[in-house]
Symmetry: C2
Subunit: 199 residues, 2 copies
């Protein structure tokens, strides 16, 4: 069974997080969420259970805490960085998250970034390659990457996407890459997309 | 500022819940989630904070507990019943939820139901009218209602929809009904739907 680690922080975009987690589970992927604390907090404390206050006020309880040693590519096949301005900033500026992204790419595992989450490709110093993001952070990425405006961009093992409105095709693409195109089609039907939905 | 009460229970479909909550907040609606306990549980207990284990394993902390006296149409403009088989069963079989739905309709407030959440239209004994739901529960509804297969059906103050794949047009329709069509268009752009998305 393929497995995925989905990061979450205060300020994470709850639709992007939830659509990705839920769709991966529907696809047969074992999903685990890990809470990333803000390293700028003066006295970061581990409250129990961990909770993330997301960008529009939904409170989500992550499955575990982020920890470099227990979140590596030896344990998961996919690492996901969701958007939401504040959450993406927390993740992209976290040195251990940057290191984790490089380890996944080096080990030939998948990394997915959506919305402002794509900023982590820059802070992790990934090489120049095709990429997309939320339009609001395009200016921060278009120098270092081959910036595209497609809903989902697959560049070797890096999968990037644009916002809540592209979260379904992003998640379905991840299911396809981990489980195959037949599985993607199997789970798409019961989700009941409107006719002529382009994904 | 319009306000919305969104019910949540163990087994609620987390995408339907989160897309509705988040999109309403983006539209300028004050959203509150309320946890509905399973009345069949032998010893229902109020744990603090309340937590809902959703249909694909995401744990969400609701804003408050469901209570007939504090969830009425005097306090909110919209009541939402999300899907997810187990969560929708808990809500639709709960006598106080049934009573709440009737009170919202009687007071000319909006009621939204999506996916299996539409079963609550039947258990609340709403009159025969146009309605849709997840295809899996169509057989339970098509006798009592004028069953349609549109992504979103607006029947006076009852708004129904089909599944996670129609949650965005469902939520955007609710924003339009509460805040106007201009607001709907304002928030749609930054969500970055793929070109030719039919909503």
């Amino acid at each position: 069974m393929p497995s995925a680690l989905i990061l979450i922080a205060d300020g994470t975009e709850e639709m992007e997080f939830t659509i990705t987690y839920d769709t991966l589970v529907r696809g047969g992927v074992k999903a685990t969420s890990a809470y990333v604390p803000d390293v700028n907090t003066a006295t970061p404390q581990r409250v129990s259970p961990p909770t993330a206050k997301c960008s529009r006020g939904v409170h989500i309880m992550p499955d575990t805490y982020f920890d470099l040693s227990s979140c590596g590519p030896d344990l998961y096949d996919l690492l996901v960085i969701p958007g939401g301005a504040k959450g993406a900033e927390t993740m992209s500026k976290h040195p251990s998250v940057q290191e984790l992204i490089r380890r996944y790419i080096e080990r030939n595992k998948l990394v997915g970034m959506i919305c402002a989450g794509s900023l982590a490709a820059k802070t992790a110093k990934l090489p120049r390659q095709p990429l997309t993001s939320h339009p609001s952070v395009k200016v921060e990425l278009e120098q270092e990457f081959e910036y595209l405006e497609e809903p989902v961009v697959v560049s070797n093992n890096l999968v990037t996407s644009r916002g809540p409105g592209t979260a379904f095709p992003f998640a379905l693409t991840l299911v396809e890459l981990l489980c195959g195109s037949e599985r993607r089609e199997e789970i798409r039907g019961p989700m009941v997309f409107p006719p002529h939905t382009p994904f």
